[in-house]
Symmetry: C2
Subunit: 153 residues, 2 copies
Amino acid sequence: MDDVVPGSVGTSAGFSLRLGQTIFSCASLLFMSLGVEFYSYTSFCFLVTIMGLAIPWSFTLALVDGYSVLVKCPVRKRGLLLIIVLGDWALSTLTLAAASSTASVVDLLLHNDGSFCPPKFCSRYQVSAAMAFLSWFLSMASCLFNLWLLPSL
Amino acid sequence: MDDVVPGSVGTSAGFSLRLGQTIFSCASLLFMSLGVEFYSYTSFCFLVTIMGLAIPWSFTLALVDGYSVLVKCPVRKRGLLLIIVLGDWALSTLTLAAASSTASVVDLLLHNDGSFCPPKFCSRYQVSAAMAFLSWFLSMASCLFNLWLLPSL
């Protein structure tokens, strides 16, 4: 197979996508968990859990992609690609659910009862939700590119 | 094309999927909007908006599928199928986001400050979120079956 889909596993665009996912997931996790009381809201705990799953997944695949680019030998196994597509799909779905839960809870805290959310905390929650949305977007792109590659194997 | 993917456009399984989507979306919309104050929460308004988009989409495609099954002449145009896949994908993403926002807000209202949510209302919100999740599941299934059919055209 020589017609490589840009953005799929083992290309430099795929490596950039994975790196972006790792960075945004880490940023979301850090903004949510460092110095902020996140454990009193279910959806914030959900976001932290999902980001804790997404970071090792994206980081491992970033390593695989970087290695494939360096040795110029992309992964072309159907079973492996299927696992990657399924994992990406599950994680991107969960990331979207967590990001939209967080965003809606932050919105509720901001507009319905301001007393529950000091401005310093609320802006951090908002940044965390935005980072999670960006991470979802990149993860969905990875999933689509790999799905595109799948029938040709 | 004789090898029809069950669940894609123009099959009886596809008709059942569309019918299920329409029913669950209607149930979600009715549980959310009839006799309950939904407009004071952003995510509930979002759910109502998305369900208002999803119902005509699913209903139209249910009519198309039913007609195709009756006249035994399934739709096999690449451009049309692409539009259906993209629309399904966009609507299922939005439905998931709306359902998880609603679920997280209901959870917050139930557990953090019970005074804001009379039990009668809260259970209706919960049923509405559950129906939206079911509608998302069927919509995602339709999208995947049609996507599976796409490369063979």
